[in-house]
Subunit: 187 residues, 2 copies
């Protein structure tokens, strides 16, 4: 079974309340471009990630707003910032890493909310059935090429309104020399 | 067969002639610390990598001097610098990427010499025999953990004066959440 790769650079999801802390009251996200997942978009807004050790500027806010604030970075980013976020599925933020966000109108000290996102696949329930993946929580995926191999613990995220795509972070993509739109194989 | 991982950050090897261009006549590398491979060391000297797009500062020179000048970076570094180095074994520099090195006494425009190093294993000829790896040019290696998997195209580099160790770049290490000294398994 072949699947398209979407590479996720570091990014931030915000609640409305946290958006207002960073950008001011009545601020609204504006779409810069649509992402492959239905309704999701890269906004025109960016923040700075800040820790005691370092900052990373120009980190994109993705829309729409959510009911939790979440910062997704790579292990490479985590070393640069001197922090140790856990590998988690989106929204699973209990006891995740602390980080500070800096916007034009204010700072937000998150006690938790910073994670390294799990490798995952967005998939329709009928595709789960079609590809005989019923009952599986996660799969392994083969990546070909000079720095190819097999990546494990790729979580299936079935949803009724989704575009079939595997999401990897920039560390996984760069280690395997793959980029947005490349095709890989579910084992 | 278990093997220890050594993670290679971006670094530079220099000829004596190129050392003199960057640091001045009669300059000698001084050891900062020994590396695991016999006779190899991290020097106290650093240079800046420069391209049309960007710079990366404080890139370590490894010693001793060699009969070729070589810059080893990760794909993440390559994106930051806006260049496209090939994946190569050390010393295989024909038609590799261009890059500029900046030292305290001069600049060096390399027409070729910048690579992404292949995943490789330093191994004694008797260990090749002992572990039934005779005749193999490369192997696959299993990495366990939350972001584990199997990495392919790991080249065997047998030599009579070597310390058994697998060398990975920072992209491979960070993608798989492994660090210097971790243990992995040759398949």
């Amino acid at each position: 079974m072949k699947i398209t790769v979407g590479v996720s650079n570091r990014h931030v999801h915000l609640t409305r309340e946290d958006l207002q802390v960073l950008f001011g009251t009545d601020y609204e996200l504006k779409k810069q471009k649509d992402l492959s997942q239905p309704g999701q978009f890269a906004s025109t807004s960016v923040v700075t990630l800040k820790t005691n050790k370092n900052v990373i500027e120009n980190v994109r806010i993705l829309g729409p707003l959510r009911d939790y604030t979440q910062v997704e970075i790579s292990k490479t980013d985590a070393y640069a910032l001197g922090i140790n976020p856990p590998v988690r599925n989106s929204g699973d933020l209990n006891l995740s890493e602390s980080i500070t966000l800096v916007g034009p109108k204010g700072e937000l000290n998150l006690k938790e909310g910073c994670i390294i996102a799990t490798r995952h696949i967005h998939i329709l329930p009928e595709q789960i059935k079609q590809y005989n993946l019923e009952g599986k929580e996660k799969v392994s995926v083969r990546i070909s090429g000079e720095k190819g191999g097999i990546i494990e613990n790729v979580y299936l995220k079935p949803s009724n309104n989704t575009f079939l795509e595997m999401h990897l972070d920039t560390d996984d993509a760069n280690a395997h020399l793959i980029k947005n739109g490349d095709i890989v194989e579910i084992l």
